[in-house]
């Protein structure tokens, strides 16, 4: 089973990388972009077909490693 975990910075947390990307887009004259926040995507292959247990596993993976919940939020999508 395939799943995707998305980790993003919480609102209000300063994102210098996002700001740098924002500046680079501006220098490319790509118009109409208000702001950029950078996050991370993890594509995960899960054993078995039980969606509830997959969700539980991924939530634990996020809480214990993939996200630092002091400054990051995470979401889990199961295909």
């Amino acid at each position: 089973m395939k799943a995707r975990v998305v980790v993003t910075l919480k609102t209000g947390v300063l994102d210098p990388q996002g700001k740098a990307i924002e500046g680079a887009l501006r220098s490319l004259s790509i118009a109409g972009i208000g702001s950029v926040r950078q996050g991370k995507v993890f594509d995960v292959e899960i054993d078995g077909e039980d969606r509830d247990s997959a969700r539980k596993t991924l939530n634990e993976a996020c809480e214990r490693l993939l996200a630092n919940t002091i400054v990051e939020n995470y979401s889990v999508e199961i295909a």
Partner: protein, 227 residues
Amino acid sequence: MKSAVILFPGSNREQDAARALRAASGAAPAIVWHAEPDLPPGTDLVVLPGGFSYGDYLRCGAIAARSPAMRAVARHAERGGLVLGICNGFQILCEAGLLPGVLMRNANRRFLCRMQHVRVENAGTPFTRGYAEGQVARFAIAHGEGNFEADDATIEAIEDAGQIAFRYCDASGRVDQAANPNGSQRNIAGVFNSRFNVLGLMPHPENLIDPLVGGIDGRPLFEALAG
């Protein structure tokens, strides 16, 4: 004092830490590979050195914080043993939950490698008793992710409990935004845990132990630990 320096893949300041410990205590620390499940028996002090453990993959310190040796370090801290994390070691301690907060990318997006003044905020601990409260020390800094952040309640709590060890300041000891190199909340350069047996700091006191290489402001920290 029996000390151990934990070596992670990508650590690069372990010999600096070992040299400072040897100079202060007369004994060389054990160098412990991160895959070791236990510390050498009788270890009093664990030092997590600077560097780029695991190439800063995922988040700086995140993967090192989950290594077998760090489980032993957590048990050591739980028993009241001393733990000092310098630079990447500080990031690892935050990621391991042994210290509050998190170290984010420097607000100005620059990797900083230079000298920096810090003010000693709490001199009543095993780490800082060789300094006077309010003393200004000159340490080296070398980091891209030293911007200390925590939620407001945590910041208030560590402030009230005296857990702020060092703040970035200017040569006269003034703490303000002009003297803040990386955007850290309240100019925080180092913090203790609530029991004051774990210290993490971004600057490198281990590089300031010899007048030949820029000063000796780091010596009191290692000498206090050596007893």
